[in-house]
Amino acid sequence: MNGTTALRIENVTKSFDQRSTRIPVLNSVSFELQAGTWTTVLGPSGCGKTTLLKIIAGLETPDSGRVLVDGSAASQLGATAYLPQHDTLLPWRTALGNAILASEIDGRSKDEAKREAMALFDHFGLSGFESMVPSQLSGGMRQRLALIRTFLTQRSILLLDEPLGALDPLTRATLQKWLLGVWDELKKTVLLVTHDAEEALLLSDRILVLTERPAQLQLDQGVQLERPRDRGSRALVDQKSQLLELLLKEGAIT
């Protein structure tokens, strides 16, 4: 890629107070993301992946260390496009209204946002569902809508917290393909959190593996596989079993 640094995490450390104890969650995590690349974070359940994304989005402040977006240490609120782990579609808004939320927050033109949204609805196979409310959509459709909303946030860095987590394997595979297609077209910098080693290998340029809590960077590895990738290919299957081994050694993979 072009090699400019889009995001820089420096020695980020974080702990939380729970009842009377203080539990360390992130232990001096550092890495850089190159603009336009796809990086995936893998790690055991509860190790601090969501916490890491929230710190990058500016929603939590680290105890020490810092986050630089495009070289600036100013508050990251509003600087990234964040897709939370849990469903956050607004039940009173139509699909289209949900998709263009960020443009409203930014005070951008609604018409233009709607035009852009329509193109993405088309790409994600949601055409014709623009005026439905979320409760009328299936789980897979809601997830696609949440992704569309994230893309339409118009930030160059996307933080995706297990966006395909709760889907059946078939929907998941289709969405992975769609996601790659959009990413290829829009040239965003993506940081994806997932539990799924195969997903990580299919999608990313680079994989970061975290240890159990308190999370530290355990592995930082480029993915040397030709795109488009095939989940059945020998190289991918081999790398997947290596990753699984690493994660299993850590204990709790779910």
Partner: protein, 257 residues
């Protein structure tokens, strides 16, 4: 569709059955009309005195509506203030709860002394009694959005006021309307109490007057009129609710008042 008919038909049939039983019993035991009039006599009294009942009803209705408006608006604004100011929350919430322990019957006479026999003491009683459900329900509603939803807005760089208008306020609409429906019923009670304690017009006044003159069928006709007003108000609120809380309309149709 079948469900809908059952929902309308079932209560109507039950009501007809109860009223029929009442009618039969009154006739069977020759109960004196000044003790308990038969439903047919009440209906006749209702028809005969319709103009009178409407005139007093309009006054009571205006007290109810004004009381609900003021109490509702007050409760709504108070809930927002308490939500955004932790200090106000700590200072006010116990007082608001405590104020509900004071029976309205006890303050109605005081209000009459302060405000006279006109419209305002009744409006005040109705407002005082109807603001509480709204405070509680709107407070809950504003807290409704999940942490991830608030995070999403903040990550987009939303201001506090954007989070209020685009997230918290719409999220509070379902509970706001639940509260409003309770408040409406209470406002009817409040206005009537206000009229009982001291007034020269309104359905409450008409009830007391007719009661004193043993015109029991007119008392019941006034009660009927009051119930009709209450039901109308409730119905209008439900129609507005379905418009505003349109995303829940499908669920509301399936049951739940």
């Amino acid at each position: 569709m079948k469900d809908r008919w059952a929902r309308i038909l079932a209560p109507v049939l039950l009501l007809l059955f109860l009223v029929g039983t009442w009618e039969v019993l009154v006739r069977w035991f020759h109960v004196q009309p000044f003790i308990l009039p038969a439903p047919s006599q009440i209906l006749i009294a209702f028809g005969d005195n319709f103009a009178l009942l409407s005139w007093h009803g309009a006054i009571t209705l205006s007290e109810i509506l004004l009381g609900l408006l003021l109490g509702g608006l007050g409760g709504f604004l108070l809930a927002i203030a308490v939500f955004y100011s932790p200090l106000l929350d700590k200072a006010l919430y116990p007082l608001i709860i405590g104020s509900q322990m004071i029976p309205v019957f006890a303050i109605a006479p005081i209000l009459i002394v302060w405000m006279g026999y006109g419209l305002w003491p009744k409006v005040t009683v109705a407002a005082l009694i109807s603001f509480f459900p709204l405070v509680v329900n709107v407070s809950d509603g504003l807290r409704e959005p999940s942490e991830p939803a608030v995070d999403l807005f903040r990550s987009m760089g939303a201001t506090r006021s954007q989070i209020f208008w685009k997230l918290r306020l719409p999220a509070s609409m379902p509970t706001l309307f639940s509260g409003l429906k309770v408040s409406a019923t209470l406002a009817v009670v409040g206005a009537t109490i206000g009229e009982w304690v001291g007034s020269r017009r309104g359905l409450g006044y008409l009830m007391l007057q007719s009661n004193a003159r043993l015109r029991m069928n007119l008392v019941f006709a006034a009660i009927l009129m009051l119930s009709i007003l209450g039901l109308l108000l409730f119905g209008v609120l439900r129609i507005i609710e379905r418009r505003v809380v349109h995303w829940r309309a499908a669920k509301a149709d399936a049951g739940e008042v």
